[in-house]
């Protein structure tokens, strides 16, 4: 069979299990396509040389009649800030150019347990700090829909590779929108789970209190299937939560998916570009026919969200990134003739400009005399936003907004203006500050450039959020088109 790379998760796993094609055939076609297509978009940093061997093992299992996992044979691309045993994990940084982790992240272990194949490591902004994947020391990733445009970030490689059909699905990490923004820019589905639902063990920390690993797929259904495997309490991460006690499906009857009250956040749509604005309203028209109750709502504290987000994220980052001193791991640099302070300075000079900027800002907001003024205040805003959203979710089942208020823009357009760049995250950071689940699904194009809809739900309402996202996805019905590469 040809063009196997177009299949979704269910089609791949069924096809392999029913021996319509082999896992090996599937992986071979994917690798062939990566070799052909990825030179155009640069979404991969490392390709897993073992993928074919693993595919052969799955085929052997199937031929011998042994049971295989629920994700048997699918190929998953992994953002290169998630640790993979024996496979380089660079965080797109010179700092870790030679770093090979000795252990698998919990999400990787869970995927492997279900016989998913890790196809390779995907490009990102260095240490996940950025919104366009232009800040990578392995070169930028291009938008598969238009190669002159940015693909979003920081999980740009994860979104672009799925859009370009170089893997069945991928994992990204979302600290302030890093899964949803590139998903929106590349016209794929990207999901950020409730804080504590997915283990962060093995995810190289940028801002621990905000980030979650999340899947990117071409359909909501694919994202659901990955979530089923990667979520759940992990003894290696004290911040994960036992979902058996927390999944709250009150007031939600899956049979009545359409009977939901949806609020459009005024502050988040008003700041959007005209084309994004129009696209959102035409999408609302389409899914309104499915019987949702819809109205405009307001989140007053949203105006402080971005400042709060960047204060907390940079503060935590400044501490998290302190460990990169090249003493225990990193890259080749002989310490002879260095006093340790000068060695630290020398090696830490290898961080890229954006990372340095955030470390400096983060060290500043934590320093004595400024801690109360910035860090504590940011924490108070975070609580305020959480509280205000909680109140809104008493009234609405879901809240919607544009994922990103602007269309994908040209490469290089905003790279020299950090403030403009940070504004890209203005709609996505809310979910990270409040710890709630949020998804971006494709709803249309303007001049060939994708636009995404963000849907948020209250914490642990993943089932409701994903079920309804599927209904909305079907009502809009654009998932069948893919970029021509």
């Amino acid at each position: 069979m040809s063009r196997l790379y177009t299949l979704n998760i269910e089609q791949v796993t069924n096809g392999i299990k029913n021996e319509e094609f082999t896992s090996e055939e599937y992986v071979s076609q994917i690798i062939e396509r990566i070799i052909k297509v990825d030179q155009k978009i640069n979404s991969f940093i490392t390709i897993n040389d073992n993928a074919l061997v693993q595919a052969q093992q799955i085929d052997k299992k199937i031929r011998s009649g042994s049971t295989v996992g629920s994700l048997a044979g699918i190929v998953v691309g992994i953002k290169d800030n998630i640790s993979t045993a024996g496979l380089k994990t660079t965080c797109a940084s010179k700092m870790l150019s030679d770093y090979v982790p000795p252990y698998d992240a919990t999400v990787i272990k869970r995927l492997k347990d279900k016989d998913a194949i890790i196809i390779g490591k995907l490009n990102l902004d260095e240490f996940a700090m950025g919104s366009t994947t232009e800040w990578s020391s392995y070169g930028l990733t291009r938008n598969p829909w238009n190669l002159d445009y940015v693909c979003g970030g920081s999980s740009g490689g994860s979104a672009a590779s799925v859009a370009a059909q170089l893997c069945t699905a991928s994992l990204g990490s979302d600290t302030g929108g890093s899964v949803r923004c590139p998903a929106s820019f590349c016209s794929v589905v990207g999901f950020k789970p409730t804080y504590g639902l997915v283990s962060r063990y093995g995810l190289v920390s940028y801002s621990n209190s905000l980030e979650q690993i999340g899947p990117i797929g071409r359909t909501v259904s694919d994202v659901k299937k990955i979530m089923e495997v990667i979520s759940g309490k992990d003894t290696n991460d004290n911040t994960t939560i036992d979902t058996r006690n927390n999944i709250n499906t009150n007031n939600y009857d899956p049979e009545q998916k359409n009977n939901q009250k949806i609020g459009l956040l005024r502050e988040l749509i008003n700041g959007a570009d005209e084309s994004v604005y129009q696209c959102i309203y035409s999408a609302i028209d389409k899914f309104n026919k499915f019987g949702f109750t819809y109205e405009e709502s307001s989140l007053k504290s949203s105006e402080y969200a971005l400042a709060s987000y960047y204060t907390i994220a940079t503060a935590e980052a400044s501490s998290n990134l302190a460990r990169f001193d090249n003493i225990r791991y990193g890259f080749e640099l002989n310490p002879d003739d260095y006093e340790w302070n000068t060695y630290f300075s020398k090696t830490r000079g290898n961080f890229g400009d954006e990372v340095k900027r955030r470390i400096i800002v983060g060290s500043f907001v934590l320093s004595s005399g400024y801690y109360g003024k910035y860090y504590l205040k940011a924490q108070r805003v975070k609580n305020l936003i959480k509280h205000e959203l909680k109140k809104l979710f008493k009234e609405y089942d879901l809240l919607i907004s544009p994922t990103v208020p602007v269309l994908p823009f040209k490469i290089g357009e905003k790279i020299d203006d950090p403030l403009k760049m940070y504004l890209i995250d203005i709609n996505t950071v809310l979910a990270n500050l409040a710890g709630i689940p949020a998804i971006s699904i494709p709803i249309g194009f303007k001049n060939g450039l994708p636009i995404g809809l963000q849907i948020m739900a209250d914490e642990f309402q993943e089932k409701k959020l994903l079920d309804i996202s599927e209904v909305i996805e079907k009502s809009i019905n654009i998932n069948t088109s893919y970029p021509d590469l």
Binding site: N81, I82, S83, T89, C91, L96, Y99, P101, P102, Y103, A105, R200, Y201, G202, L203, V204, S205, S207, N208, S209, T235, N236, D237, N238, T239, A315, E316, S318, S319, A322, R323, F324, D325, I327, R328, Y329, P335, D336, W340, N341, F344, S363, L366, S367, S368, Y371, G372, Y375, L376
Partner: protein
Amino acid sequence: MTSSLPVKIGLEIHCQLTQLNTKLFCSCYCNYREKEINSNICPICLGLPGSLPILNKKAVEFAIMISKALDCKIPELTVFSRKNYFYPDLPKNFQITQYDSYGTSTSIGKEGSIKYGENYKIARIRRIQLEEDPGRLVYENGRTQALIDYNRAGVALVEIVTEPDFVDPKEVRIFLNKMTSILEHLNVCNTNLEGSLRCDANISIGNGKKVEIKNIGSFSDIEKALTYEITRQKTMTIHDIEIKAETRHWDDKRKITKQARSKEEEEDYRYFPEPDIPKILLENLSLIKTSELPDERKSRFINDYGLSEHVAQVLIDNKDLADLFESAIKIYHSPKSISNWIVSDILAFIEYDSSGKKTITDEMKIDAKHIAEIAKLVDDNTINRSTAKSIISRIIKTGELPSDIIKKEKQTTTIINDETILLESIDKIFNEEKKATLDAKHNPTAINFLLGKIMRMTKGRADPKITTILLKKRLDEEV
């Protein structure tokens, strides 16, 4: 008068929770000692990218036990903080610790107190908190670089901070003895292990600034370091030199304190709450029972066994001795004689160890059974005290049982109370000391002289009471 300037000393004690199985945030062994360099490590304690701390609940329980023993208030919940600074022995370049700021207390215990010394002086405890130990820098001869051993990185430490309630180094020593005994009795720390207990001190005299002394490796050096520092500060005051707030290091070899860095340029540690460890509820944990504490044990020794205040205190100050005592009286129930043998004789053989504490070492082959036998043999009048003492100094090295020695060497060890044998000796002395014998008939001092001769002849083994009676009787018969 500078000599009368009041001295204020406060302490920061770091106690490794050596009795835990694993480190504070990972499952590596707590016991890193004698392990091959960098073999007791994992992604977590090595701070590898993506690793997360997993809190050892038992460590929190231990810290609560210490807090309770020191009469501290225990808050309903606690959190951890990050202390950010760059140092090669610190795998993450921050230390996970606890920190009070902005009105939030993040200690496990606070505002406690402890009574110590004969006059039951009170030292207030400011706070008790948990934190991780860093790795160790290793300097090898002939090598210009330092090597780093991370085996110790992540071992649980409890930091105990006192108020500046001590007025002289001697008080500090007595206080630390008590503290050591409490930690031993709680069975949270084997204080005999090198580096398991470390202490920083701060000192000010008069209205002078506070000077911190760090790096005092053993409790035995604390008194020396404090005495040195007090003299230094007083000398400066006499010469009108201002004492600056600063941190000084104790130079273990030269036995002096020397300047480390001045307070002005002290690092900003940029503390903030550790995001990877959720808040810990302490309410339920605060119900944990502590084992018998030194003060309780001492009262029990006095009330149940009739020991004197002094003897009970000496035993309690060193848990090993108190344990030895209790095991021995189980074998032979004579608390007074056993405690006296331990306090007046065994103690003399026990050496001061590197931490400045008397420790029963593995080389000392004496245990409860030996002591019980010695006490019984003396109480039964089988051997005399001086024989007992020489047996003790012998068995401490050999581990032989006193009863075996007596059996094997009856002729040289046991008390002679056989009248025929004693009479033979008396006759022999009468023969040798004719003049004294005549004298003794009406002079009691001469009787003592003859008794002394007999004792010397029997190498002290003649039973003095029986011998005296027989002597008198014989002298009477001689008429």
